[in-house]
Every structure is written in structure tokens, then in C-alpha cells.
């Protein structure tokens, strides 16, 4: 009877009520069941990958030994890193500009800056295909310059996200802090570096995480802008799946998941989870 001797559930202690636990469990299952299946079957000792036939890690070896796949992964990581850095710079400047200054056509720019997020990806992909063809973008550059087209396309849809999170963070900035810094002798640049950047730092981390992951897993736009020598990881996985769903694909995907989770964890640790939560 010890179970019933514990303290009764208080009115707001939802986490201890049965229906809430069931609901949370259902949500978790819905979100993570596919991923869990993916990870489990990456260890499946079967070529066809439909029925469980025993545990093996050989497909990890196979995936890591697949030069094309590794190259695609390196391409993806390079593009994501470049796109993140450029999006952070561009997005932050755009956010600060829209928040701080008044200038002609501000309303128009404000309204259209998030267009790359709204426009369907397929349209953006086709648009980039046409654009790069029209300007005669060279396709025979050496690595990493051959990634230029994809990187530019990724920056286009990543930086509005940075602008959005930075702007929402700027809205909570107390302008008196800027004035206080100036009052103490700081120049515009020193105010930006010492007061504004520390204030928007959580938004910068959030924006960087968003950009990196968006770029890393983008398929549609990349598909239209990649050439034969610039296959990215998602595009490569897609072409592999077209032949057959082997545990190799699962293994490669699992590695990518592990990588993203690790990166997110490091970023959150570096910033403090609390600060990230404040941004949203």
C-alpha cells in the first residue's frame, strides 16, 4: 500500500497526472519512433533491411569506406559552415539595420526579407537553376570554389532566419544601455561590440544552429544547384535509396544525426541553455 501513501497530486502538478504522462509519451513516440527505427536498423545484418537478422557494425565500416559518401558529407559540412558564417554576418547586419535606422524603402525591405522562407523550396530551386544558367556560373572550378553556387543558394534561405531571431532579441534591448555606453565614452563601434553583441549573443547562437542544420539537410534547392562534382550528403543518400534501402544508408544517416546532436549540445553548452530559451 506504500504507493498510495505518497503525497496527493497538487492541482498544478500536471507532470504527475496519468493522462499527461500518456500524452507526453505519445508525442515522444510520434516524434522519435522513426529515428529510433533508423538507428536500430543501421545495425541490421541484412542487405535488404526489412527484417531484423542480427547485430553488426559492418555497414558503418562500409559507409565510412564509401569515398563518394564521405566526399558528399565533407561537401555538406563545408557548405553548411560557409553558409552559417555568411548568414550570421548578413542576417545580423540586416536585423540591426532594420531595427536601428530609418531609410528609404525600409518597409519594402522589411516585408520582403523573409520571402526566401515563404517561397516554396521547389520554386527557389528552379529559380536558382535558371539564375546560375543565365549568368553563366562556371561549373568547372576546383574544390571548394565549386561549392559556390550551392553555398550562395543556402545563404539566401538561411540568413532570413538569422535576421528573424536577432530582430526578436533586439526588440528587448534597452536603448538606455546604448546611451549609457556612449555616455561613458564609447564610440558607435564600441557600443556595438561591447553592449549590442553581448545582448544578441543567444540569438546569434540560435541563428547559427538554425542555419547550420537547415543547410546541412537541404535537399530540394541543393538538388537543383548541384553539379556532378558537387554532390551533398542528402543528395547522395537520395541517389543511394533509389537503388535500394541498405543499412549503409541507415549507418550514414545515424552518423549525421550523432554529429548534429553533438554540435547542438556543444553550442548549447557554450552559450548556456537558459540564454537560448530566452530568445524564443
Amino acid at each position: 500500500m506504500a504507493r498510495f501513501a505518497r503525497t496527493p497530486i497538487a492541482p498544478l502538478e500536471y507532470s504527475r497526472t496519468l493522462w499527461m504522462r500518456l500524452w507526453v509519451g505519445a508525442v515522444m513516440l510520434f516524434l522519435y519512433a522513426p529515428l529510433i527505427v533508423l538507428v536500430i536498423f543501421s545495425f541490421n545484418d541484412s542487405k535488404r533491411n526489412v527484417v531484423w537478422r542480427g547485430f553488426t557494425t559492418k555497414y558503418y565500416e562500409k559507409a565510412l569506406g564509401n569515398d563518394q559518401l564521405v566526399e558528399a558529407l565533407l561537401n555538406s559540412l563545408s557548405i553548411a559552415a560557409l553558409a552559417t558564417i555568411a548568414s550570421l554576418a548578413l542576417g545580423t547586419v540586416a536585423a540591426v539595420m532594420l531595427w536601428r535606422f530609418r531609410f528609404p524603402l525600409k518597409g519594402a525591405i522589411d516585408g520582403t526579407i523573409s520571402l526566401p522562407i515563404i517561397v516554396p523550396e521547389i520554386c527557389l530551386g528552379v529559380a536558382f537553376l535558371m539564375f546560375f544558367a543565365a549568368v553563366g556560373w562556371p561549373t568547372d572550378l576546383i574544390w571548394p570554389f565549386n561549392l559556390g553556387a550551392i553555398t550562395i543558394a543556402h545563404i539566401t534561405f538561411c540568413f532570413p532566419f538569422v535576421t528573424m531571431v536577432v530582430r526578436s532579441r533586439l526588440a528587448t534591448f534597452n536603448r538606455e544601455q546604448e546611451e549609457a555606453a556612449k555616455d561613458l565614452g564609447a564610440s558607435e563601434w564600441q557600443v556595438f561590440r561591447d553592449v549590442l553583441i553581448p545582448h544578441i549573443k543567444p540569438a546569434l547562437v540560435a541563428g547559427a544552429l538554425l542555419s547550420f542544420t537547415l543547410s546541412l539537410d537541404d535537399f530540394v534547392i541543393t538538388y537543383f544547384t548541384s553539379g556532378p562534382d558537387t554532390i551533398t550528403f542528402p543528395v547522395k543518400v537520395y541517389s543511394m535509396v533509389r537503388f535500394s534501402v541498405t543499412p549503409e544508408v541507415n549507418a550514414a544517416s545515424t552518423l549525421l544525426i550523432a554529429l548534429t546532436v553533438a554540435l547542438t549540445f556543444v553550442a548549447l553548452k557554450a552559450q548556456g541553455v537558459k540564454a537560448i530559451a530566452e530568445t524564443h
Binding site: 534597452n174 538606455e176 544601455q177 546611451e179 549609457a180 555606453a181 556612449k182 555616455d183 561613458l184 565614452g185 564609447a186 564610440s187 564600441q190 561591447d194 553592449v195 553581448p198 545582448h199 549573443k201
Partner: protein, 376 residues
Amino acid sequence: MTEPTRPIIQIQNVSKRFGKVTAVDNVSLDINAGEFFVLLGPSGCGKTTLLRMIAGFELPTEGRILIDGQDMAGIPPNKRPVNMVFQSYAVFPHMSVADNVAYGLKIAGVKGGEVKDRVAEALDLVKLGGFESRMPDQMSGGQRQRVALARSLVMRPKVLLLDEPLSALDAKLRAQMQFELSELQEKVGITFVTVTHDQDEALSMACRIAVINKGDVAQLAAPSDLYEYPANRFVADFVGSVNIFEGKLTLDEPDKAAVDCPGLGKVYLNHGVTGPHGADVWVALRPEKIYLHVPGAGKAVTAAAQDAPDGHNFARGRIKGMSYLGDITLFEIELETGARIRVSRPNLSRHDQEDFTWDDKVSMHWRADSPVVLLG
């Protein structure tokens, strides 16, 4: 003060317009070196705009501001020899207390060792010694304000500007900070210019007060002069509480004057007013300057002689409202003319508040030098 007064800030014919709104309207005033100067006025009167123009965050539309003899036109806030304590304190949340206080010194290129000494000295001054490594979010509002004070004082400015410094503090802390700010100002000898809408704050801290109304200086005077000799109805009403009666000046000689007020009756003064005979004037009478007592029963020749000492003014009425405030009781009395007057009475003994109650008939008297005759 024995040394001759020297203006540290000269505001000359300064106006500030935001579009069609005139925030500051042709203001000229001098603030002396070493004084505690207060800009007092209701919200929206332009006092904060004036302060921000001194700091350089707003530029005058017309006129000029001189600090220590130097014209401030074209000099940005970061190059002016003044520092400001903001209403929100604006302490940098991502810096420790010591880093906050050291910020201005580091920008100015002061060497590390000296920075440390001056930061410690400034923190001691505001009684925050030992708080160096605290973060602002671990401190109370009052402590954050001290950080803001230290951060400005450490720069050794010629003038310290304070924007509503006490408005965010609770009543007890506010009273304590009033004393501390005055004490601090005397200790460091820096000119303080404070903006406030709170008359108690202004009266208790200031050497001189400029009352601002609708962008203009309504009166510039020492606290006691402001209270006892208000220059106009706005000042009389804004600083302290007051009864104001409209009347006509019927007698005006060097040693006496009389004003005929329809509401209050004839008011006698024992000094001249120097206003035109028959002019429309206003009589201002502070509630605490009126003595209140039970009307004497009797057979006296005149009503005045009955209750009031010689040379006092006299009136009668009925108590229509009372509020007991502990130290004083405030009465609202309906005069025989139907006008109302407010009288305050100190509760000198424990049972004083029982002397009067609603609908009691009372008589009042006040000295002939108590009323102030206002021409505007």
C-alpha cells in the same frame, strides 16, 4: 558656500521641437559649480529633454548649451565632460559590477592598476565595496542604482546628470537614498543635476530647484523660497498643497494690503503687494498655516476678536471631510460662502484627532503674513 558661484552649465535660449510639439521653449538658466540642482515638473513638461540635451542625446533646435564655458554644439555624448545615471540604471547585464564600473575608464585608456584602484574607490563611495564580482542580476534595484552611480562617478565628470533617480525605489529606500545622494554630492563636490517629478525629493535634496512647466521655467529658487514664496499659481499648486482663491486687490500700501475674495472674504496682509489697484489676483494659503479651533461661545464685539489673536485673518466653516494620516489630520471645510478650504492639523497628542468630527462648526485663523498674493 564661501567661494564665488561659477556657472558650470549655461543654458542659453534653448528650444527643442519634435515636429510640431515644443518640448523646451526658450529656456535660459545657469547651473552653478558644486550645487545640487533639480529640474522639477510634471511628466511631459520637457525636463528630461533638457537633461538629455545637456548629455548630448538630443540637440537643441535653437539656442546653445555651454559646459564649463565651452559650447557643446557638435560635441557628441561620448566627448562631453558629463555623465548620466539613467532612469532604468542601464547597468550592463553581461558584465560584473567591477567591469561595469571600469568600462568608461577602459574606453578612456586608463592603465590597469589605476583602473582597479579607482573602481574600488568608487564602489566604496556608494557602499558597494566587496561586490566587485557580482553580476547585476544577483542584485536588487537599489544596488544596481549604486552600480550606475559608481560607474558615472568613477569618470570624475564635471557634472553628474540623474534622470528620475529614485522613482523606481520603494518609499523607505527612497527616503534613505535622498539623504545618501545629498551626502555623496557634498563628499565628491561634483555638480549634480537631477530630474524629478517628486516635490519631496526636490525639496529635500536640492540647493536650487527649477520648476518646469510646458517647456518653460516657471520659477527658479531655493527649496524654502519655492515653497514659501511661489511666483505663480502653477508653482504654488505643484509644490506642496495649497488653497487658491481668486480675488481683487483693494488695498495696497507699503505695509499692508487687502484682497477681496468672493470665496474666502477679505484677506489682510501685513506687507505690500505692488500690484495695480483692483487687479485680479489669487490668494494662496497653505493648509498647515491655518489654525483650527472650536468657535468660542460669546458676546464679543466682532467675530474676529472672539477667536483669533490680534492681526490674524479669520474665517468660519463646517467640517465636510476628514482624513487621518497619523502625523497630521487633513480637514476639508466648507466656508460660509460655500467655498471649500483644506486645513491640516498636526496631531500633537494622542487624542488630538478626536477634537473634531464631521459637520462640526469650526473657526479658522491665520497670520497676516501667511497668504501669498499671486499675480499670475
